[in-house]
């Protein structure tokens, strides 16, 4: 009886559509119904949920799970052939190569020195970039959450770089930072001395972090802004009645309630930072030398860019990266859960 009622509702909805769309939609609904009815009869209504999520699971399986398993297999193989069946099984040799180091703090003493340079650069980049993104996004969100003049305009301004492609962002900043670029032009007009910003290893890392913070901050600001706006204003009224000042409001009302959103920002920015490739690739090419070359670039170069493509080594490095990221994320989530329980 309920089924007939639902069908009648569907037909009533279709009847509201224009004469052109109506027959097409009717045809589509009838066709889907024709396919799913026999399936439902066979598996039963309780299991139809699985049928509905099957397409998504298939996509996940084909495009995510299967490549992950394949990557795992490639990491255990050697040689340069593309197809798995042509590749000799080498067990953990690729991992042994990556971890063959006399002194882990001295990349030059490692067999795969570029891998370890990538590891150290990635750690430095992630620490600075994620801290900066969380801090500046929070400050910006707090400011934009206040009743300031042209608040809508400023929200757009901060969000605008998010709309740009990472390659465009990198090219813009490359023009700004190159020796004959805009920044040096301004410095010279002001009487200062121009500098090769991207050639100095420390400055290069600073600018790489700065540019990515500039490009991505708007997105995280938006998330934090949504978090701030979901805090009930009554809590601030109550705290002001209790005599709390601005800092106490922030410490005892805003931060505890914003913490779940902060963890979302932290996890998302961490994953994005570890995966960073395109922007740095265009801005510095990983240079000067390898000073801004992150692990993802090592994986790309080893597996695809070199004439003799070492897929096995590249797959092993990507597994190390994936596992590290998983551990970090789980750690964060655990900390997040603990803090919300507290």
């Amino acid at each position: 009886m309920a089924g007939i009622r639902k069908e009648a509702n569907t037909l009533r909805l279709i009847a509201l559509l224009d004469p052109l769309t109506r027959p097409l939609l009717l045809l589509l609904v009838t066709a889907i119904d024709g396919i799913l009815k026999p399936v439902q009869r066979r598996v039963g209504i309780d299991k139809m949920g699985y049928i509905f999520i099957l397409p998504n699971l298939l996509i996940f399986g084909i495009f995510v799970l299967f490549p992950m398993l394949l990557n795992f297999y490639y990491a255990m193989t050697g040689g340069t052939r593309l197809f798995p069946e042509d590749r000799p099984f080498v067990g953990l040799d690729n991992f042994a190569t990556l971890f063959d180091c006399e002194n882990f703090t001295q990349p030059n003493s490692c067999q795969e020195d570029l891998f370890w340079r990538g590891v150290f650069n990635t750690v430095a980049y992630v620490v600075f970039q994620v801290s900066a993104i969380v801090l500046f996004s929070l400050i910006t969100a707090l400011v934009l959450n206040r009743q300031i003049v042209a608040r809508g305009f400023f929200r757009s301004v901060f969000f605008y770089p998010v709309l740009l492609s990472p390659v465009v962002v990198a090219l813009i900043w490359k023009w700004v930072l190159q020796h004959e670029g805009v920044l040096n032009g301004i410095i010279e007009i002001l009487g200062g001395e121009s500098k090769r910003w991207l050639l100095d290893p420390n400055w290069a890392m600073f600018w790489v972090v700065f540019v990515s913070v500039w490009a991505l901050m708007g997105f995280y600001t938006l998330i934090l802004l949504a978090g701030l706006q979901s805090i009930p204003p009554e809590l601030y009224e109550a705290s002001s009645i209790d005599g709390a000042n601005g800092w106490q409001d922030f410490r005892f009302v805003t931060m505890p309630l914003l913490m779940p959103t902060m963890f979302v920002v932290l996890v998302l920015s961490l994953i994005r930072a570890v995966q960073m490739f395109d922007q740095i690739f265009v801005l510095t090419g990983g240079g000067p030398g390898t000073r801004t070359q992150l692990l993802v670039q090592y994986i790309y170069t080893t597996g695809f860019s070199n004439q003799i493509q070492l897929f096995g080594l590249s797959a092993a490095a990507s597994m190390v990266l994936g596992v590290s990221l998983l551990i970090l994320t789980l750690l964060q989530l655990r900390l997040g859960n603990q803090s919300s329980l507290a």
């Binding site: 045809l27 066709a31 024709g34 030398g289 390898t290 170069t301 695809f304 004439q307 003799i308």
Partner: protein, 425 residues
């Protein structure tokens, strides 16, 4: 009724997805990259071919050069490649080339006219296959901005001596840059291939007695150290090598008269004719000399047939058309490329330009063929030369920024080559 409708809908979708059932013409695809106007010229020539051969249609898929280096090998390994491709990794991809010999009407023509270059595209031990032809022969060598020398009142070293050393050129370029406040005295393409010419001139042998690639000799070390030091003292463009990944060129700087001496190659002549024209006097000078000679590196790009093609006969027909002396002559004339064709080399090419600077430059490059050292030819013919070139480029860059010493960089280059070749098996 519902079931019938469902079946009808599925059939409609399937029919829409089906390709045309009948095809009279064979479509061939060429994976191509452009240095200058050669894609445009090729299209013109193929239009004429298609008019005479209505059963074949040729599509040119123009991609960035990086895609030829990085994506094409993967496509070929997966059996997903095009019918033909323009490649520069000549020997490295040889296993995927089509041997067109059985499909060619006159294989002897190919041996006769492309003979010396066919080996570059063959696997070791193969001395008979015909996989394609060189779209151009390239020779590496330096360009100078003569106008800057004149403005600075400094003699061009090659005007005074037939064999100028790298140090003499560096001193002259520095003097010009200093006199005119030009930002970059010298630059070299970020490429191990470009570095190889100067290294061989300094005495690098590149192969040991067993024919295994090696960089562990004094000649290589000498040029490596000099090259790294030039980056540190500002003689060489300080940002180009350290701040790039893969290939990088200084075309823009040279065209903007911000660079005195630019080590690149003959393929730039067409571009400079377009970009610079006669805005200033640019010219090619002979390769600088050292104890190992005064050599550049030969090279070039080849159009090859791909073994996985379903239409080998049609591929051979297109190739025969493109390699006829008349068509190849037109291609060379309009692109300002040096042809790698014995007949054309003998008859000469009337390059399609009014710019005397371009004609003179091409003349110098053609004249350089005789000065190339045998090791330069051997290195170019070596199938895994990119493993040598890429390691050289990346490790010397690390030495330039102080991540390692020159000796450590050379040891790493050797390690990288050995590791890669061991994996290759």
């Amino acid at each position: 009724m519902r079931r019938i409708l469902s079946i009808l809908l599925i059939l409609a979708v399937l029919l829409a997805a089906l390709p045309a059932l009948s095809q009279d013409t064979v479509e061939l695809r060429i994976r191509w990259y452009d240095d200058g106007n050669e894609g445009e010229v090729l299209r013109d020539l193929l239009d004429q071919f298609e008019a005479e051969n209505p059963d074949i249609r040729v599509e040119i898929d123009t991609v960035p050069y990086r895609a030829i280096l990085e994506n094409l090998p993967l496509d070929l390994a997966a059996g997903e490649g095009p019918d033909m491709a323009r490649v520069t990794d000549l020997g490295g991809l040889a296993e995927y080339y089509l041997d067109m010999t059985p499909y060619l009407s006159d294989p002897a023509y190919w041996e006769e006219n492309f003979g010396p270059f066919l080996n570059w595209k063959r696997l070791p031990g193969d001395d008979s296959s015909i996989p394609g032809y060189m779209t151009q022969l390239t020779i590496t060598g330096p360009f100078i901005n003569r106008t800057l020398f004149e403005q600075a009142g400094i003699e061009v070293p090659s005007d005074m001596s037939a064999s100028v050393t790298w140090d003499e050129w560096a001193a002259a370029a520095n003097a010009v840059a200093e006199a005119l406040e030009i930002p970059y005295p010298m630059a070299m393409d970020r490429s191990g291939h470009r570095f190889a010419g100067p290294a061989i001139s300094s005495g690098a042998m590149y192969f040991d007695d067993m024919g295994h690639p090696t960089v562990m000799d004094e000649g290589f070390r000498d040029m490596a150290e000099r090259f790294v030091n030039w980056h540190l003292d500002g003689t060489m463009h300080p940002e180009m090598w350290p701040l790039s990944e893969g290939y990088a060129g200084a075309n823009e700087e040279f065209a903007n008269a911000e660079l005195v001496f630019y080590m690149s190659g003959s393929w730039q002549v067409g571009q400079f004719s377009e970009q610079i024209g006669d805005a200033f006097d640019w010219q090619t000078v002979p390769n600088p000399c050292g104890p190992g000679g005064c050599t550049g590196m030969p090279g070039g790009a080849a159009l090859v047939g791909i073994a996985a093609t379903e239409h080998p006969e049609e591929v051979a027909r297109v190739m025969e058309y493109l390699t006829s002396q008349e068509v190849l002559g037109e291609f060379a004339a309009r692109t300002l490329f040096i042809p790698a064709h014995a007949g054309l080399s003998a008859s000469g090419v009337d390059f399609d330009t009014d710019l005397q600077l371009a004609k003179d430059s091409l003349g110098v490059f053609v004249g350089q063929v005789g000065t190339l050292e045998q090791v330069a030819f051997d290195l170019q013919a070596y199938g895994f030369n990119r493993a040598v070139f890429d390691a050289t480029r990346d490790r010397l860059t690390q030495a330039m920024v102080g991540e390692m010493t020159v000796d450590e960089a050379i040891a790493r280059i050797q390690d990288d080559i050995d590791t890669a070749l061991a994996e290759q098996g």
